[in-house]
Symmetry: C2
Subunit: 199 residues, 2 copies
Amino acid sequence: MIKNKKNYHHGDLREQLLEAVRQLIESHGPDGFSIAEACRAAGVSTAAPYRHFRDREDILKGVILSAMTRMGSAMQEAADAHPPGNPERIVALGHAYVGFARREPGVFALMFGQAGQHSDDPQLAEEGEGKFAIVLRVVADHLGRAMDDPEVTARAYALWCAVHGHCFLVLDGKTDETKIDIDEDAYLRLVGSAFLPPR
Amino acid sequence: MIKNKKNYHHGDLREQLLEAVRQLIESHGPDGFSIAEACRAAGVSTAAPYRHFRDREDILKGVILSAMTRMGSAMQEAADAHPPGNPERIVALGHAYVGFARREPGVFALMFGQAGQHSDDPQLAEEGEGKFAIVLRVVADHLGRAMDDPEVTARAYALWCAVHGHCFLVLDGKTDETKIDIDEDAYLRLVGSAFLPPR
DNA sequence: AAATAAAGTTAGCGCCGCTAACTTGAATCG
DNA sequence: CGATTCAAGTTAGCGGCGCTAACTTTATTT
């Protein structure tokens, strides 16, 4: 009994709703969407989503989860583009992180901007730790130490903070034109060398 | 004709509503509040707020604005606690910033977590630039350079990012117990010395 | 004291999240 | 293969919310 959802009434409504919500979030902001609007986009009644999701929160969790894996893949890919120990690896990782935030600003804000609203979900927590593990790996390789070395943890965390904070400031428009004007590549190289001296 | 709002029907409903909303945001999250609930808390009808605010967004703007000045004061106070050039100044500034985020996590998320939803408001933008100016001032003093020196801008921005990002990770619960476990003071000293070497 | 204007009220519209009860149709099975 | 089952749709409706219109109350102005 393999459930092939394409053979049911609508097709894969679940995925289509997630995609519709994702698009609405990108065009109207993280809270500027409604389930009803997503239903209209998917061409179903407003009661249909509740066959696939518990409630609104559950839908958002679905959107976040798929975004997490997309972001994780982008980061892993960036890390794999350079050999371990190469400083370019850290820069590339930063670009991947910021790139995702720029590409999907609404979803990025949803993932991280809600004051830990979803931090209690084990599935999301696991995905999050997976992404930090990529940073840990790269930093550990760079320093030639173990991933659980306190020095590695501290520097990886600092790197994460610096890039993460930059993303929010970018999305908030603080870096636009007249305001601060930051060269992103230069910034990422600065934080990379600040926390991981070539030595 | 001095408008003393205390002499009207309710008193200063405007301020009481802002306070009620602030508390609701802290207890139920940035989007977990409703105007109706704030009205109940203030003991007025649900139509009353519209004598003082254009709409929901305008109320939020009011909450954010008062929070901005509170945060700015805390930062200024921290900076003033140490003489210019003293590295403790930067650490204190960081503690003030993170302290505010910890004290008012909901409002902090509201201020910065909405993907630049309020970045187009000139009043808010001005307050935001004022806070960055404090950081610029401290960094310029430390390096003995002008506030508009590119080196100062770059390092001040990096500091801001590192602290800002840390706040979000804290609020998202990434630093809790089993997860990452960061010594905040050590972290702030690390980023301080990383971007502002004693030289 | 009357007029004015500020700041409340009630009533109500339309949208939304969500549920209950019903219907449809694909997969399973005697 | 026809009957059965059950996943996945539907419509109808409740209560809450944001917001507006129209009315009422009360402080200030003249």
